[in-house]
């Protein structure tokens, strides 16, 4: 390699190295702020070395698994509340509106809203998170023991003890038909 080429290669490498260093340092400094959401344990224990905890009134996103059996719906409005968990602590999300199709018990979700107190969040938006596993329903049934239920049919068929809204309303027409 002749000296001029070598010089140019060194210059380009130096620029690239400096820039990667700068970007790396920036991302390291922003580490906690790049996260899209807090997990329930981060919310309660704080994040990072300083254990920074969000304060009530702060706008934030929380992400976790919906605890099975924790979904409580209001009978007359669209109000709904459910618990989220990751590795231990549980936080409760209160929301009013239509939930995404993928929302179900055991599903990962991300909610955006305001922290009310240590473990309660008033959400303005609920997004469903899905994992990177893709498989046909038969395989899922064999591997995971998941019975295939199209998202749209999930709610009327759920019969968790706390659930109040569809159970009564839907049993009526059936009873009438039988008579």
């Amino acid at each position: 390699m002749n000296p001029r080429r070598k010089q140019r290669l060194m210059a380009v490498s130096a620029i690239l190295l400096l820039l990667s260093g700068a970007v790396g340092a920036m991302l390291y400094a922003l580490q906690e702020n790049v996260d899209l959401f807090y997990t329930p344990s981060q919310l309660l224990d704080g994040i990072g070395k300083d254990k920074v905890k969000p304060v009530p009134g702060q706008r934030l996103r929380i992400g976790g698994m919906v605890v099975p059996g924790s979904v409580k719906r209001d009978e007359t409005t669209l109000k709904v509340s459910f618990d989220l968990v990751d590795t231990g602590p549980i936080v409760t999300v209160h929301y009013e509106g239509i939930l995404p199709d993928l929302f179900r018990e055991g599903q990962g979700i991300v909610a955006q809203g305001t922290l009310l107190d240590a473990t309660n969040i008033a959400a303005t938006e609920v997004l469903a998170k899905h994992d990177e596993d893709y498989m046909p329903p038969e395989v899922a049934a064999a591997m995971k023991g998941i019975k295939h239920v199209p998202p749209s049919k999930t709610y009327p068929q759920q019969t968790s003890p706390q659930q109040t809204y569809p159970a009564k309303a839907e049993s009526k027409p059936v009873a009438e038909a039988q008579q």
Binding site: R5, V12, L36, K129, Y134, P137, V139, H148, P151
Partner: protein, 249 residues
Amino acid sequence: MFKWLDPYAKPETLYRICGLWFPWLMTAAVATLLLGTVWGLAFTPADYQQGDSYRIIHIHVPSAIWSMGAYSSMAIAALIALVWQVKAAQWAVGAIAPIGAVFTVIALFTGAAWGKPMWGTWWVWDARLTSELILLFLYLGVIALSGAFADRQTGAKASALLAVVGVVNLPIIHFSVEWWNTLHQGATITKFAKPSIDASMLWPLLISILAFGLWLAALTCLRLKTAILQNEQHRPWVRQLTASAAKEG
């Protein structure tokens, strides 16, 4: 060290090679693209969780992979153009950039169209989505910079430098889903682990990925040919070429 590569950098030879490869690459690309997308979109089973919506993966993942693949090849060409000052490499940067930008737009658009029914939102500022958007801006920057100077050589140098330093963004895109909490799910296909997608869905996906790669290569050949002709139009070999083409036509 790379002396054996030198003859291929000669515009005339490169033009001939691109012309030779283009029909094969394009035919293979169209065939695999048809096979992969029709198989993936119409004949694979529906997903246990997402139903039919997941099928867009057969377009989303290949375009996203090759938006990054195109960027790495463009950056390598830019490095060669900067250090060894090979003109053909400079033209390759200009040839690949718009194709990569379109692939990035396809990835972003199909991602949004997938996100709306599944996540419940078109867009969220999570690390993966944002870094992919930055990739689009990098492409647009490379395209814009090359035409931003009165002196074409300065513009070419500036855009090549941007293409090289933009490489920093690639590992960020790739590892964003591991380094941070994101709404975007992790990687389905990785080199070192069993893919977490059922075999019946994996095959059309792999074919689509191959198809997008071939498509990228074919379009690059075509654009590079045009760039060579444009830049060498006053050279004897191009004049000879056009003269013989005029005679035949």
